[in-house]
């Protein structure tokens, strides 16, 4: 069972994504901001993918992404950014900073699952 890290400061979004992924038999770890996420990454070394928001207090998504990509043990982990449609610059910025791709908020559950399947190829929960 692949473990996914969900990073978002909105509890609702977190709950929503977690619900969807759990329903597809992924294991889910949640973090409320970038700093929290980095901590969780060290605590759960088997995290297979990160689904993250950009705008968060404390440490934002891009800063977190930069740190992940510059840390050898973490650099390989696929990161999917979830962003809003009204910030195209942010989307390019996310790709530039190291996201594998982005999804537009609100994400359809089926699309979220299908997208995750494209980055987490082994250990798909099915």
């Amino acid at each position: 069972m692949a473990r996914i890290l969900i990073v978002d400061d909105s509890k609702m979004t977190r709950d929503f994504h977690a619900y969807v992924l759990r329903a597809s038999r992924y294991e889910v770890v949640e973090a409320v901001d970038g700093a929290d996420a980095l901590e969780k990454l060290y605590r759960y070394p088997d995290i297979k993918c990160i689904v993250t928001d950009i705008n968060m207090p404390n440490m934002d998504g891009l800063t977190m992404l930069r740190k992940i990509r510059s840390t050898p043990e973490l650099a390989h982990i696929p990161v999917v950014v979830v962003t809003t449609i009204d910030r195209p610059e942010e989307q390019m910025e996310a790709l530039k900073t190291g996201a594998n791709f982005y999804l537009i908020k609100p994400v359809k559950p089926s699309i979220l699952v299908a997208s995750i399947r494209m980055v987490v190829r082994d250990g798909d929960g099915q």
Partner: protein
């Protein structure tokens, strides 16, 4: 779901209203958390309740189901005073966020709307998550209160479930009925619009069943309701396929499907069970078992999601490549990173042959070969767009959405009290304008050298004040077309249920009325439309016999005339037999026989507005529904309007509702009566005359005047207010010319003698409190430029 143009209009209204509701909600929730008072619970409950209502109106089932689920928690707290936990506030806030997200999404879709049909996707929003949380919170609460309340609250939910079930069954039957009617039409001609109607009915049934499943956990219900959901889903699917592939449809399957659904509806009503074999048999003959159809459906959906996810990533790879080409900066290794999931995606959608192309793109990027990168990216893009067209549901183009989202905010919400304040202030300005007019006149007289300047200035000021007044009043206006559109369906359904043919025409849809008046008109219009179809328009055979077009014509019309807006309902049906009405009025003891014979046709027609009269008049199965004619009259008169009926036997009937345009400022004539000044609204005055004294005649103590060969009754205005008996002889009129206002009453014309005509102007109407209203002759008051208060007269009431 697919939306028609009128549904889109409804949706726009829903968006506007919902944003207002949601904007205040967060504060209310915070207050609720802090105070936990009954009022705050009630306040929040009301917001969710309203949200549910308007969402239900627009068929937005995800919103309806989430709001319904939290509403039941709030209801319980309100009724039983349970404790409010922070988790509940979280849940409620999340529910509000969910609603916001859904409405934002709808707004984004709507902003791209360019007429025609609109496709709105409300699947997979994740509402189950909130509903489940609400459910578990509810159950948790139930467990915690182990006292006798447990039974009480479960009784409460039970009752709730019952209510939901009966709502569901009502809707189900309604939709099935409508579907059957459509099927009958389809048998005549298979047309795509009818198919779409049919599909919508099935969609509504499916949605209703899902909603019921989400709120009810009565195991006896779950089975049948699931079956209903399945059957309607399959039917919807088949119809959709038929529309898409433009193939002839096997109507028999649908008829059988509808029959099955009907059996379920009956079974749920009576509590009996349905033989499941029948459904299986039904779908087995069509080569699809309902189970396997569901399976196929699920796989299809999964397939589509994979494709959409793939397109999303592929588009991003191309976008990023273009970004690299444009800026010639950035880390090319990113291309490889995006390419990884893309290659996985290619395998998943069954196109491994394109992996090579993706590899080449990455290679070109890494070797800074921008030209090659561009060519390869274009190649991928071409392939993608080809695939996209082929794909059933293309992924949403990202850029087009972002630009259009802003376009939604074309309307600005304004607090109603602020708006009222502004309209009031404009009214005050009009009053000021009137007093300035007096001042201008004085100055002009004293300082004639300023005359032309002052005149120009005063005219500009008046013009400006007038425009300002019009603009302010228009803020509260809504086009009447919004109301008219609602009747399209009513007319269609009603005509069908009565086996009549009726086509609806509307005129003057852009006539604007105060929103509150529009709401007030809704009930009367419904009643009049029903009446016209039920009693006015004849069955097709009868119409044919009388040489009329088989199809009856119903016109909803609005227009302006003077200070009034008119809203009319006209039919070309059999008309009202006035002589029969006369007899009926006598039979019912409403009027004496003698009186009945004396009454004019117009007066007799007014009788249909009497409470007892209209109900007796209606004998079909439609009677007892809605409101009676008396409500039509009461509603319209409550805003100072009038209802009149014109009818011609065999030709048709028109009911005309006259509504004052502006309730705030009226044009009026200032007159002197006795020692007091009064204002008579200009629109009630037919003529202003000065009649030589010798044209007035007294007959048996009553006065009459001969005006251009017509004799009309005359009254002294002074008698009405002072109770003094006024004799013509006592009065002195300059040059023996008597000032008379000729007033058009509901059915007759009469004259009112005043002491002098003073001036005409615009006056701001101030209401008079009910206790202070001594006579219905007075409709209001105004404050004059000099600060004195003058009453506004309602002379039409004189005849009674």
């Amino acid at each position: 779901m697919r939306l028609k143009e009128e549904d889109v209009e409804i949706l726009k209204g829903v968006l506007e209203e919902s944003s207002e509701l949601l904007s205040g909600l967060e504060d209310k929730l915070i207050t609720l958390e802090q105070s936990g008072s009954r009022e705050s619970v009630n306040g929040v409950f009301r917001v969710f309740h309203s949200l549910k209502g308007i969402a239900g109106f627009a068929n937005l089932s995800p919103i309806v189901s989430v709001t319904h689920s939290v509403e039941s928690i709030l209801k319980r707290i309100r009724d039983e005073g349970a404790l409010i936990k922070p988790e509940l506030i979280d849940l409620l806030l999340d529910t509000a966020d969910f609603c916001k997200i859904v409405f934002d999404r709808i707004a984004a879709v709507l902003s791209t709307y360019r007429g025609g049909e609109l496709e709105l996707d409300l699947e997979d929003l994740g509402e189950e998550e909130i509903i489940n949380r609400a459910k578990s919170y509810f159950e948790e609460e139930q467990k915690e209160s182990k006292q006798p309340e447990v039974t009480q609250s479960s009784a409460l939910t039970e009752e709730f479930g019952k209510e939901a079930l009966s709502d569901f069954l009502d809707e189900l039957e309604e939709n099935l009925h409508a579907a059957e009617i459509t099927m009958v039409d389809l048998e005549k001609s298979q047309n795509a619009d009818l198919f779409r109607d049919l599909m919508r009915y099935m969609h509504s049934i499916k949605g209703g069943a899902r909603l019921l499943l989400s709120i009810c956990n009565d195991s006896a219900l779950v089975g049948p309701v699931k079956d209903i959901e399945r059957v309607s889903h399959i039917l919807e699917d088949q119809i959709q396929r038929a529309i898409k592939e433009n193939t002839q449809m096997d109507l028999q399957t649908i008829f059988e499907g509808i029959d099955v659904l009907k059996k379920y509806a009956d079974a749920l009503r009576t509590g009996s069970t349905v033989d499941k074999k029948q459904i299986e048999a039904l779908f087995a003959t069509k080569g699809i078992s309902s189970e396997s159809a569901e399976q196929v459906e699920k796989e299809n959906a999964e397939d589509l999601a994979t494709k959409e996810a793939f397109f999303n990533i592929a588009t991003q790879l191309v976008q990023y490549a273009e970004f690299l080409i444009e800026t010639r900066t950035g880390d090319k290794s990113e291309l490889g990173r995006i390419a990884e999931p893309l290659k996985a995606g290619l395998l998943m959608i069954g196109h491994p042959e394109k992996i090579e192309l993706v590899d080449k793109i990455v290679e070109a990027g890494e070797s800074d070969d921008f030209q090659r990168l561009k060519a390869l990216a274009d190649e991928l893009l071409n392939w993608l767009s080809g695939k996209k067209v082929a794909a059933e549901q293309p992924s949403q183009p990202i850029s087009s959405q972002s630009t259009s989202e802003k376009a939604v905010a074309q309307t600005v919400r304004v607090n109603k009290t602020k708006l009222d304040l502004m309209v009031n202030l404009v009214g005050e300005l009009i009053t000021l304008k009137n007093s300035l007019r007096y001042l201008f006149a004085v100055i002009t007289w004293k300082l004639p050298e300023f005359q032309s300047d002052l005149k120009a200035l005063s005219m500009r000021f008046e013009r400006l004040a007038y425009d300002f007044q019009t603009a302010a009043l228009s803020l509260k206006m809504t086009p009447v077309g919004e109301l008219f559109r609602r009747y399209k369906r009513t007319v269609r359904d009603l005509a069908r249920s009565l086996n009549k043919k009726v086509s609806l025409f509307t005129e003057g849809e852009d006539v604007e009325l105060d929103r509150s008046i529009l709401e007030l008109l809704s009930d009367p219009l419904t009643h009049l439309v029903r009446n016209a179809i039920d009693h006015g328009i004849e069955p097709p055979e009868e119409r044919k016999r009388f040489g009329k077009n088989e199809e009856g014509k119903l016109v909803l019309r609005a227009f302006y005339k003077g200070n009034f807006a008119f809203v009319e309902v006209e039919d070309d049906g059999r008309g009202i037999d006035v002589s029969k009405l006369r007899i009926k009025a006598v039979d019912k003891g409403i009027v004496e026989q003698e009186e009945a014979l004396r009454m004019s046709d117009e007066e007799v027609l007014q009788l249909i507005f009497l409470p007892g009269f209209s109900t007796a008049e209606r004998v079909t199965d439609l009677s007892g529904r809605g409101v009676g004619m008396d409500v039509v009259k009461t509603n319209i008169e409550s805003v100072g309007g009038k209802v009149t009926v014109r009818t011609e036997l065999g030709k048709g009937t028109t009911v005309s509702m006259m509504i004052p345009l502006s309730l705030m400022v009226i044009k009026g004539l200032l007159v002197k009566i006795g020692e007091e000044r009064y204002i008579v609204p200009t629109d009630t005055i037919k003529e202003i005359l000065k009649i030589p004294l010798n044209h007035l005649h007294s007959y048996r103590g009553s006065l009459f005047a001969n005006i251009r060969g017509k004799t009309i009754p005359i009254v002294f205005a002074e008698e009405l207010f002072t109770l003094n008996r006024v004799e013509l002889r006592q009065k002195r009129f300059p040059f023996d010319l008597v000032p008379i206002l000729v007033v058009q009453g509901a059915s007759s014309v009469f004259g009112v003698i005043v002491d002098a005509f003073l001036e005409e102007g615009d006056y701001l109407v101030k209401g008079i409190p009910e206790q202070a209203r001594v006579s219905n002759l007075v409709s209001g008051a105004t404050v004059m430029g000099d600060g004195s208060v003058v009453l506004i007269l309602n002379l039409e009431h004189l005849i009674s």
